[in-house]
Amino acid sequence: MMLNKFKEKYSRDEFTNSFIIILAVIILGTFLLSLFFIPLFRILQYAFYSDSQFSFSMFFSTISNSTNLIFLARDTLAQALISTVFCLLIGIPASYFFAKYDFKGRKVIINLLTVPFVLPPIVVLLGFIVAYGEGGWVNVIWRNIFNTENSLISIFGTYQGIIFAHVFYNLSVIIRMTIPAWESLDFDQIEVARSLGASNWRIFRRIIFPQIINYIISAALLVFVYTFNSFAIVLFLGEARFQTLEVRIFKQMKDSLNFSGGASLAIIQLLVNTLIIILYLWFERKTRQMALGKEKGLQKTKLRFSKRNWKINLRTTGIILFIILIGLFTFAPIFAVIIESFIPFSEGVSSLWGYKQLLSNEHMNILNNSPLRLLLNTLLFAVVATIITLILSLLIVLVLRNRYESLRKYRKPLAEGLISYMIILPMATSSITLAIGLFLQYRNTIIYQSAVWLFIILSHVLISIPFATRSILSAYNRIDIELLNVASTLGASRLRIFRKIELPMMMRGILVGGIFSFAISLGEFGATNFLVRDVFGTLSIGISKLITSQTLQLPATMASILIIITVLCFLIIQKIGEVELKV
């Protein structure tokens, strides 16, 4: 009787759908609970429990410690703020030029500007050292020209060195994220305002500024998060004098074995990150709402020289110089790494020495492994992490966009709300904190002792999931719900709709998300560096071990390989992006 009533009320299709959703929630819940929430709880425990008694005393003594306070205020908060402001000051004019002026190679330059950002941090750091370090190109040229002993730039152990590196690393974020802001401006609005007698300043203040501010804020918040949580750059350039919270936590946990201190700092960091991420999501949604329904954008002006008008010539020259400077600033370190890999580190060594060394076992004592094995580890970890990430992200998207529930009941289903909040927290958790959680929770288990590589991969998965999910979700959101409704009236089952409609239409997002996850795992440094043991190192770890050695040829070679793979990934993303425009 009951069963009949059930059958009458729920079609087989809805049953399949519910089954899939429940299964997805169980898998996601288990994954997040065991690898994120329980480890996070363990961190809380270390921060607030001493001798199995709850107490704030350790937490307070950690955060009121003057060294910690300096690292928090000066090296983390103020540093992130200053880095962000510099990025904005250079990035916003640059994005305006790219949005406003049309010239040969414009698209290529915009696309290439993204490359530094997708490069592994350790590679960026190496490039920075090769280009601007004490013995780096810029300083050598400076000394030769002016015949002096002094350096032009000093990046090691200086505050400005850290800021400089952060601006280099994050400038592309600002430029890429604010170009759409300028492009979304409707030129007709400005013309109308002008015809109504508004001055240029008033037009900027009342018409332009309100329309671009959300884009700028969301880009700035993102750069703030990245520089706030910066690890590799500060670990090496800061020389222990300057430490972000991320570096401080790492040192407390790994060097001082002060678990409760590290845990307390991790909590502070997590709170700040959560706040910023929530703000970011809010502003980002506002920019998307503003972009809706806008068809016409900013008209582009051709960048040109004129025979008569010297003002135009001056402007054009200025813009070209500015763009060349930005290009030099951004690409110099990358080219420097590749060129460095061919420069013999001493006389009598061939320029291909670095590449031959990849196959040798000469560096076992430093690397614990041959460079080739490190490369294989890197690729293997990245492939496995990508597959797991994609499966989990797809499940998240399915739960978040459970059309059946929301359509039939006209309200947001419970699972959707739950999962959407559950994934914000991992987004706001730094890679070191993720690794610490895993370490504290599982360090005494057999599986951790014997298969630390699994935890390295899982930490990569945790870091990649938010990126992959967002990419797939944005592709999914572009599917018109009516398409799925039509498909079901045409008799297609839930599974057939998924296979024939949803999956092909999400494919671009899945590919982009997959490649992103692959690139993230490829260059991940913070969590890997914390967890790594024995022979399970990656190229990033190898480079970091050799970065302080006198000869940069071998690390530059390893970095060049990472650059090539990353650029290839990036080119594929660009290619897919183009295909998408045609559909």
Binding site: E8, E14, E482, N485, V486, S488, T489, G491, A492, M505
Partner: protein
Amino acid sequence: MVNLKLEDISMKYEKKYILENLNLDVEHGELLVLLGESGCGKTTLLKIVAGIIEPEKGKVLMDNSDVTHLSPQRRRIGYVPQAQVLFPHMTVKKNISFGLESQKLSKEEIEEKIQWISELAHLEELMERYPSEISGGQKQKVALARAMAIEPHLLLLDEPLSSIDAMGREELALTIRRIQKETETTALYVTHNQEEARLISDRVGIMYDGKIQQLGNVVDIDSSPHNYLIAKIMGTPNIWSVDFIEEESNATVLSTNLGKIKIPAKIQRKVTGINIPPTSFKISFKYNEISKEKDSFFVKGYIKSVIQIDEKTDRFVVEIVSNTIEYAKIDVEKTLITADISPNQEIFLNVDPLEIRIL
């Protein structure tokens, strides 16, 4: 071919009823147009019939069997939504065959049916194209063919012409009508545009406040709309709402934006508005020439434009002199137009109160 019966359908959205105890019968092979303004719940009703959403209360019956809780997959319904939603990654042919492939048919049968429907909808030339390569009107034809290919028991159309340019509209409307008639498919067609209803319908249901307010063929509704709002939805010219009513011994005085109108009779039913048919006006270009019969309704106005209706008749659009800006449409025999019409020409109008229709 089935008949569709909706019984006491209710649906709430954000605490407000958008459908409330709605009842409707659609007969075998009939094309019924649901006419109503945006947001009146037409689309929701269509989705309930399609099985995409479930009503809070009420029953959906097809040939007297209850399908209220049946999934869309098993209802065998052809659904053509508002925007031209084709599967963008499939060719026209693949789009049309999508529904057929969900049924257990042989390849030959599928090919046969595709052939049949593509000929019926004149789509043979487009079969290998992608949706991005065809026009809006063509897309909608494909959407229609896709829905019809499964030989649905019931065809549901949600404003199918709304995103099509004016040129393609009539042709598409007639294509829909032709295919529906040839296949004798029962159809429910939703729109806010009364002209579409006039072009295509067997019967029209006027919908607002979550209910079907009047049901019948276009001619019947035009000649006796139940109230002012229905007349408005039907696009009846020259209607004015009545603000209040004064009863006199042998007459009723109606207050409208045109002024007070005295009807020489007692009105027994509820009055919501008045309608003055465009042919009921008597005109004059000079004040002293107008007939001043006792109790006739008299106003002054200015001619704003003249439209030719046919060889014998012109239609004046006249701005009436009143407290608010009101326009009246007046059909005049050309022979009666004695003066040259100049812009803003003064005109005097006279209507016999007995010719005024009470809504």
